[in-house]
Amino acid sequence: MSARPAASTTTDDLRLALPLAAFFAVFFLAPLAILIFVSLHTDPSMTRMGLTQYARFLLDPFSLQVLGNTLWVGVEVTVLCLLLGFPMAWAYLRAPKWAQTALIIVVLLPLLTSVVVRTFAWIVILGRQGIINTALISLGVIDSPLRLLYTEGGMVLALAQVQMPLMVLPLITALSRLDPNLLDASLALGAGQWRTFRKVTLPLTLPGIVAGCLLTYAAAITAFITQTLVGGGQLLFMPMYIYQQSSTLNNWPFAAAVSIIFLVAVLAVVSVFNVIGRISKGYAQA
């Protein structure tokens, strides 16, 4: 270790970062390199090299469908989270102090509670004897229980709840940095509440919106537990696809290729978000 640890806060001394950098090189970058290496084999016993695994995925309508469904579910969850999360953050900042404490606990608790527990709640809610079916039957709306579990709609709702904190927290930060004078000025100059919201609030909080959307999207498309337990066996998404191919079918090269394709797709989405974020930051400061 460096002889003067405090110096690193005042000078440019990167030596203290070396242990973690070395750890990441060996246990993060090297495994990813091996993942690429394994994906370049043509057969499960890994004797010949070639790009056949990638061709197999990219030419197979079923595999492409799985990828497309996964990316699309992420969009649905993100939109739902934004639609409900923005008003939540808005209400949080206008609530009295005691209510703010309660609200932040309500937002944080799901973030820290085990994902299996949160997903389990949705099995109870959406199940054949769950709240929704019990309520609808006792109200006489339906005669027999609806199938809500193992549907895409139910899964999107569950995913939205599971990932909601990731959307609300950056939005609270973005909205709290908004200068209230700007809103007052807009209202005083005759723009209505809706117009002020569209023309002032939304553009100025766009960086926070982009940050929230990025976190929610990345978490939703990789949410293995919620996807398998609420989505069920009928709906197949990329994480389960990778798990099936590697653990059940033991086809490592194909599982590796699917992982790489998934990684690249996620990175592409992340960079699109980052570009939008950068543009919106310039817009917000202009």
């Binding site: 640890p5 090297a30 495994p31 309500v106 820290l112 537990i225």
Partner: protein, 268 residues
Amino acid sequence: MRRAEWEGISFTAVMLALAALCFLLLVLPTIVVIVVSFTSGFSLKFPPPGYSFRWYAALLDAWQLQFAASNSLQVAAGTTVLAVVLGVSAALAIARSERWTARLLDSLFMSPLVLPALAFGLASLMFFTLIGLPVSPLTLIIGHMVVCVPYVVRTTVAALAQLNPALLESSTSLGASGIYTFRRVTLPLIRPGILAGGFIAFMSSFDNVPVSLFLRDARTDMLPIRMWQDLEGKLDVTIAAVSGVLIVVTLALMLLMERVAGLSRRLR
């Protein structure tokens, strides 16, 4: 009514209605789990036919769940210690540096947060198989460390960014050594940030599925995976009692961390 007034009312009404919906969506599932965990019946029927402590009592005999919980706790503890030691020292180095290498390291340390952890889990399994290291608590800790250390780095870097450099300079100019300044000035001021990061790292290791899925075996069964497998097989009511325990413990720890480390401010 004037148009502006009507607009103001409709805007507030829509926002509050959506916020209320969001509130319900966030709170309801937790309440449902707590209520159903006290059921006296054998199914997840809601509302339950009657109330009892039977499923909590059943936990005392559920040795598989107990075994998995103890494994998860040990791995989470090991992961947290390693993540705090390496993460805090890395944060000290990169927090104030303007060098491009520091920015690059920052992006590298944060990247596990956005990359699909399941792909990393598979990559780790391939890596450990290749170097001939069998899966064990050690490989689990190594894998968890990669996906949990970003939280420690992030909260510590944020705490260091708020640190007033004048404090460090006056300590040094008054003759304190670097180590003394670190121990008596820097560390006390960034301690809440480290605590919050360590806490989140602990919780996310305890809850980790995508990495554990590949790096555990029967001897190193992990709680979230055990629960997932129990739920996939049949809808087991014992899981409701486990969930009840986890919710209460999480809430208690969260309130404690809010008090000692200002958790909510550090997560934003």
